[in-house]
Amino acid sequence: MDLRSEIKGLIVTELNLVGRDPSTIGDDAPLFGEGSLGLDSLDALQLAMSLEERFGVRVPEGEEARPVFRSVAALAEFVERARGAAAGGT
C-alpha cells in the first residue's frame, strides 16, 4: 500500500470515522477548518500520536505542525522526509 493510502486508513481508524471509505479522502483535501474533513485539534493530536507510533517519526507541534497537517499529501511528504532523515538518507 502506498503511503498516502496508509495515512488515509490511519485517519479513518484512529479517529473512528465510521462508514467513511478511506479512498474517498482526497490527497490534497484540507483536513481542518471549513469545507474540510471536519477534524479538530483533538483529532490532530491523536493523528500525530498515531503517525509517531506507525512510522517512528517525531511530529512537530504548534505553528510548525500547521503545514504538515494541511492534507494527506502534506502528511505523506513529511513522513517520507522524516523517515529519510532518520535513516541518514538525505
Partner: protein, 714 residues
C-alpha cells in the same frame, strides 16, 4: 423554601501549605509552589514541574488498603474545617451531611499496582488491592473517621467538581435535608492525569502563567479544600460565626466539545449572571473574580470573553486573578480550594495575585492583580470553575448579610416521564450491541463504550419526555461504581510500554469519572447541570437522589438520572481472586444500565407530557433503616430491589412494609452495581403498565448506603 447558606469553617492542604493560614499567607505574597515533581518519573514529558504537596500527609490506617494521598489531603482539610467551625464535638441531634468531589481518587496508588500487574498479571495480592481506590474510598474513610453523616454524596464533574460539591451541600441545606454539611474536594497528582494533559499538549514546560502573552498551558497541582456549610439561623443558634455566605451558584454544561471550551464563553457568562441573580446581586456589586484561569491559550481567552459578556462596563473595574500560577491546577479540588480563597479575600479584605503573570495578553484584557495581593474592600466574590466535557460552575460568595435574603422558591414535585434499561443477563456476556448502534456514528465517534451505553439509553428514555428549550434547564446525572476500569488500565499499560509520547490524547477525557456524562450532555445538547456520582452498589440510587434534589432546588427542570456499569475483565479477575473460593458462581459480573427522566411536575403538565410515575421521596438511612411512610394498601404495593434477599427483608422487618411483595431484578438483569437504577426502572414500569401496583419502594440492599426511593402511580 429558603435559607441563607453560610460558611462556618474552612480547611486546605495545598502545595503552598498544610493548612489555611500557611496557604493563604503565601498566596497573598505571590509565592509559587511549582517545582520539580518527585512522586513519579517525569522523564520524557513536556512538563516536569507541578504543585506537589511536600508537607507531611495525614497518616493512613495501616490495615486500610483504600488509603491514598487524595484521602489523606481530604482528611486534613476536612478536619481543619470542622475544627474551625467548632464542630469537633457536635450536638447529638445535628444532622450532618458529607459531599466529596474529586476526579482521580486513589489513582496514584492504583498505578503502582498497575505497574506490577503489567509485569505479573496473575499476582493475587496485586489483584486483591486493585479495586481498593474507587472514588467512593475517600468519602467512606471520611465517614468512618469524621461521621456519622445522615447523607453522603461522592461526585465528579472533572475540574468543576470542587465547586459542585459546595453547590450540592448548599442545596441540601436549602431543601432542609441536613443541618450542616462538610463539603469539599481532593485530588492528588498521578501519572494518568500527568500523561493525559501531556498528550493533549496542554502543559506548560515552565511554571504556568495564566493570562500572560507567553502562556503555553497549565501546570498540574494537587490539594484539598473543604468547608462547613450551615443555614445562618442554625449557625447563629449555636454561636458559630459565619466567615462568608454562599449566596449564589449556577451549574451547567456547554454541550460543545469534550476537551475544548466553546470559544465565546456563552455558557459561563450565562451561569455568571444566573449565580448573581440567585444572590440578588448585579455586576456592579462584584468586588473580585477568582478566575478558572488555567494558563491554557484557549481557556484564558474564552474566560475573558465570558467575563466581558457577564460584567459589561464593570469589567475594567473588577480585579480578576487565578491561583493556578501558584498552586497549579488541582483538577477536581480546584473549585473548592478557590471558593475558600474567595472566602478569605472577603474575610481579610485582600485579593490574591495571579502568580506568573507579567505581560498580560491583549486577548485577556482584564483588571489583573500582578505580583502580590492588593488590599481592598471585598464584599462580593464570584468564583469560576470549568471542567472537561464543558461542565461549568459559578459560585457567589459574600460578606455575611451583604446580599438580600434569598427569594423563597416554591416546593416542586418531581415526576418520571421517561424510562429505559438494558442489561446482559448471562455472566461473561456483553450487553446487546443494538443499544450502542442506536446512535449517529458520526456524532458518537468519540464516545467510548460506557459513554455509548449511557447516551443511547438516555436517547431512548427522552423519547417520551418533555422537549425542553432552551436546554439550559435540562441536565444529566449518571452514577457508576468503578467507571472505566479496563480503559484506565489500557491507557496506563500504553504509558508503561510505549512511553509518554504514545499515550492516546483522545482516550484520556473518557477516563475521568465524568467522561460519559460529558459525552452524553454534548450528544444530547443538554446545557443544564451535569454530574457523575459514585456510591458503589448504590450509584444509581445516588444519581436519582441527586436528580430529584436538583429539580427540587430549582437548578433544573428535567434531569436524566441513572447508572451504567460496564463489564470489565479486570474487575472480574479481581473478584475471582477475592471471592472465587467462597462463591465460585458469584464472581463473574455482567453489565447493565438504567435511566429515568425526572421532571418538574409543572414542566410536564405545561408540555402535556404523559407522567409515568411520581417520585414521591428519596430517603437515606445511612447506617440505619430509611424511614418511609407506610404503604397505603400493602396488597397494591411492591418492593423492588437488586435481590429480594435477606438483607432487604431485614430492612423492612417489623415495619408496615414487611408484608409487601418483594421483587428482585438481579436474576434477570444480571449482576452488577447498576442494579439499583434498573430496579427503579422496573418500579416505574410496574406503575405505568398494568393496574396492579400503586406504590413501589426501591430499596438499596446495602444498608450502610441505605437509599429508599418511593414511587407512586400518577
Amino acid at each position: 423554601m429558603t435559607a441563607r447558606v453560610v460558611v462556618t469553617g474552612v480547611g486546605l492542604q495545598t502545595a503552598l501549605g498544610a493548612d489555611v493560614p500557611s496557604t493563604w499567607a503565601r498566596l497573598v505574597r505571590g509565592e509559587r509552589a511549582l517545582g520539580p515533581v518527585t512522586l513519579f518519573d517525569t522523564e520524557g514529558f513536556r512538563a516536569r514541574i507541578g504543585g506537589e504537596v511536600r508537607t507531611p500527609l495525614a497518616e493512613g490506617h495501616k490495615d486500610d488498603p483504600s488509603w491514598s494521598r487524595t484521602t489523606a489531603m481530604a482528611m486534613a482539610a476536612a478536619r481543619e474545617a470542622i475544627e474551625g467551625a467548632g464542630l469537633t464535638r457536635r450536638p447529638e441531634a445535628m444532622r450532618v451531611g458529607l459531599v466529596v468531589g474529586g476526579t482521580v481518587g486513589g489513582m496514584f496508588e492504583t498505578e503502582d499496582l498497575l505497574a506490577r500487574f503489567h509485569s505479573e498479571p496473575g499476582a493475587r495480592e496485586v489483584l486483591a488491592r486493585m479495586l481498593s481506590h474507587p472514588l467512593t474510598a475517600t468519602s467512606d474513610r471520611l465517614e468512618r473517621d469524621l461521621g456519622p453523616f445522615v447523607r453522603v454524596r461522592t461526585l465528579s464533574s472533572a475540574c468543576s467538581g470542587g465547586a459542585n460539591a459546595l453547590v450540592v451541600g448548599a442545596t441540601w441545606l436549602v431543601l432542609g435535608l441536613v443541618d450542616a454539611v462538610i463539603a469539599g474536594a481532593s485530588d492528588a497528582l498521578c501519572r494518568l492525569t500527568w500523561s493525559g494533559f501531556n498528550a493533549l499538549g496542554a502543559m506548560d514546560p515552565e511554571p504556568c502563567r495564566p493570562f500572560d502573552m507567553r502562556r503555553r498551558g497549565l501546570s498540574l497541582g494537587e490539594g484539598a479544600g473543604f468547608v462547613v456549610l450551615e443555614r445562618d439561623q442554625g449557625a447563629r443558634a449555636r454561636g458559630a460565626a459565619a466567615i462568608v455566605e454562599l449566596a449564589g451558584w449556577a451549574i451547567g454544561s456547554e454541550a460543545h466539545h469534550v476537551t475544548n471550551p466553546e470559544a465565546s464563553g456563552a455558557v459561563p457568562a450565562r451561569l455568571f449572571g444566573e449565580a448573581l441573580a440567585r444572590a440578588r446581586l448585579r455586576p456592579a456589586d462584584v468586588d473580585y473574580v477568582n478566575a478558572h484561569g488555567t494558563g491554557t491559550p484557549l481557556n484564558d481567552a474564552m474566560e475573558t470573553r465570558a467575563l466581558a459578556t457577564a460584567l459589561g462596563a464593570e469589567l475594567k473595574r473588577v480585579p480578576v486573578s487565578s491561583t493556578k500560577g501558584q498552586l497549579g491546577h488541582t483538577l477536581g479540588a480546584a473549585g473548592a480550594i478557590e471558593a475558600i480563597v474567595g472566602a478569605l479575600a472577603i474575610r481579610d479584605g485582600v485579593v490574591p495575585p495571579t502568580g506568573g503573570l507579567e505581560t498580560p495578553d491583549p486577548a485577556c484584557a482584564l483588571r489583573h492583580v500582578i505580583g502580590a495581593g492588593e488590599a481592598c474592600d471585598v464584599g462580593v466574590v464570584v468564583s469560576n470553575s470549568f471542567g472537561f466535557g464543558g461542565m461549568d460552575a459559578v459560585l457567589v460568595l459574600t460578606a455575611p448579610g451583604r446580599a438580600d435574603a434569598p427569594r423563597a422558591t416554591k416546593e416542586r414535585r418531581v415526576v418520571v416521564t421517561g424510562v429505559a434499561r438494558a442489561s446482559a443477563e448471562l455472566p461473561g456476556t456483553r450487553m446487546l450491541s443494538a443499544v450502542e448502534s442506536e446512535l449517529d456514528p458520526a456524532r458518537a465517534r468519540r464516545l467510548d463504550r460506557p459513554s455509548r451505553i449511557a447516551t443511547a439509553l438516555s436517547v431512548r428514555a427522552l423519547g417520551t419526555a418533555s422537549p425542553l428549550a432552551p436546554s439550559g434547564r435540562a441536565g444529566i446525572v449518571l452514577g457508576s461504581a468503578f467507571g472505566s476500569v479496563d480503559g484506565s488500565c489500557a491507557f496506563m499499560h500504553r504509558l508503561f510500554e510505549k512511553g509518554p509520547r504514545l499515550v492516546s490524547p483522545a482516550d484520556f477525557p473518557n477516563l475521568v469519572p465524568s467522561g460519559p456524562v460529558g459525552h452524553a450532555s454534548i450528544y444530547l445538547e443538554r446545557r443544564g447541570p451535569a454530574l457523575a456520582v459514585a456510591d458503589l452498589g448504590a450509584s444509581g440510587e445516588s444519581a436519582i437522589a441527586q436528580g430529584l434534589e436538583l429539580i427540587q432546588s430549582g437548578d433544573a427542570d428535567q434531569i436524566v438520572a441513572g447508572a451504567f456499569e460496564e463489564a470489565s475483565d479486570i474487575v472480574d479477575r479481581v473478584l475471582i481472586a477475592l471471592f472465587a473460593a467462597a462463591h465460585p458462581s458469584s464472581a463473574v459480573r455482567t453489565e447493565g444500565a438504567g435511566v429515568l427522566v425526572l421532571e418538574d411536575e409543572e414542566t410536564a403538565r405545561v408540555a402535556g407530557t404523559t407522567v409515568l410515575a411520581r417520585l414521591e421521596s428519596v430517603t437515606v438511612g445511612r447506617g440505619d433503616r430509611p424511614s418511609v411512610r407506610p404503604p397505603r394498601n400493602p396488597s397494591r404495593a411492591r418492593i423492588v430491589a437488586a435481590y429480594a434477599d435477606a438483607a432487604v427483608a431485614n430492612v423492612v422487618a417489623g415495619t408496615p412494609w414487611e408484608p409487601v411483595t418483594r421483587i428482585g431484578v438481579g436474576t434477570t438483569a444480571g449482576d452488577h452495581e447498576a442494579l439499583g437504577a434498573i430496579a427503579a426502572c422496573v418500579a416505574v414500569e410496574l406503575l405505568s403498565k398494568g393496574d396492579e401496583v400503586d406504590e413501589a419502594l426501591v430499596l438499596c440492599a446495602d444498608p450502610p448506603r441505605g437509599y429508599a426511593l418511593l414511587l407512586t402511580r400518577p
